[in-house]
């Protein structure tokens, strides 16, 4: 072991790794954390939006279903129009996780049913139903259209009840 002079010590100090920017790694970590958190929040919000939209339709859809079955034609039509407006609100198409229901498609199906009910209430001609069927998301073909329209007509119970009562 040799004795070290102050000059030797000064030389060894200069070889120690210099920390030129001590703030650099914490700053990078902060930025990374910010980026990961914001991307996670954005994707979660995107996935939740169609679910919340569907939930928002529920009370109006429940009222519309009762009004269509038993209510006055005016109430039924007004509520079906509300359901249609809520179901057709413009949104960017969202991706749904595997195993999760596709709420966008479900809302389109709600809109299709509302359109069919409105057509029934308005006593629309067959060509209207054919046009609705052609653009429908629900399983509707020219072969089952008649059955579908009959089913929608049967859901309006107040007409049949009044007829049966006579």
């Amino acid at each position: 072991m040799t004795d070290m002079t102050p000059d030797d010590l000064a030389v060894s100090r200069s070889f120690a790794p210099a920390r030129k920017r001590p703030w650099l790694t914490p700053a990078l970590l902060g930025v990374l954390s910010f980026a990961v958190t914001s991307v996670s929040i954005q994707s979660a919000v995107e996935r939740q939006a169609p679910i919340l939209d569907s939930m928002e339709i529920q009370p109006v859809a429940a009222a519309a279903s009762l009004a269509y079955a038993w209510g006055s034609p005016e109430d039924a039509a007004a509520l079906e129009r509300q359901v249609l407006a809520l179901a057709e609100r413009a949104h960017a198409p969202s991706s749904h996780a595997r195993g999760e229901p596709d709420f966008d498609t479900l809302r389109k199906m709600d809109a299709d049913m509302a359109k069919l009910k409105l057509a029934v209430l308005a006593n629309a001609p067959a060509s209207t139903f054919q046009a609705l069927c052609a653009h429908a998301t629900i399983r509707c073909t020219p072969y089952n259209l008649e059955r579908l329209v009959e089913m929608v007509k049967k859901q309006r119970l107040v007409g049949t009840a009044a007829t049966a009562g006579r």
Binding site: R13, A16, P17, P22, T25, P26, A27, L29, G30, V31, L32, S33, F34, A35, T37, S38, I41, Q42, A44, V45, Q48, L52, E56, P59, V60, A62, A63, S65, L66, A67, A69, W70, G71, S72, D75, L79, Q82, L86, L157, V158, A161, A162, G165
Partner: protein
């Protein structure tokens, strides 16, 4: 300063890094936190229809499932007799009140069929 970091040095460095990560998380959460959605206000008529649905359901479920119990509770004692269910719904408190309220709402809405049978049938809708 020698090359070997001290405990305090490591402690401080870790603290800075954890603090920076936490700060990034909180700033992002504060900026991008989803805003609460304000659902469209339900019109008074829709609220009335929804109440009618609830009351009709209460009336319908009472007449289908609670009728025998209601007869016993009401002290009528003629559960097996013809028309016992009707007697029960007339005597029992809550189901009769639900039916009365549903009928009242239906009449207020000026719907075409507001007789008790129709109101009970409304309650059986899915």
């Amino acid at each position: 300063m020698d090359g070997k970091p001290s405990f305090e040095h490591i402690f401080r460095l870790t603290g800075f890094h954890l603090g920076a990560a936490g700060a990034g998380f909180f700033v992002a959460a504060w900026i991008f936190a989803p805003k609460p959605r304000m659902p469209a206000a339900v019109s008074p008529r829709v609220a009335q229809i929804l109440e009618l649905r609830t009351q009709a359901r209460a009336a319908a479920s009472a007449t289908t499932s609670l009728a025998p119990t209601t007869v016993v509770n009401a002290g009528v004692g003629t559960a097996g007799a013809p028309g016992a269910a009707h007697a029960a719904s007339a005597v029992a408190g809550p189901p009769a009140a639900a039916l009365a309220r549903a009928t009242e709402l239906c009449t207020a809405l000026a719907w075409p069929a507001c007789d008790p049978d129709s109101v009970r049938a409304m309650g059986k809708l899915p």
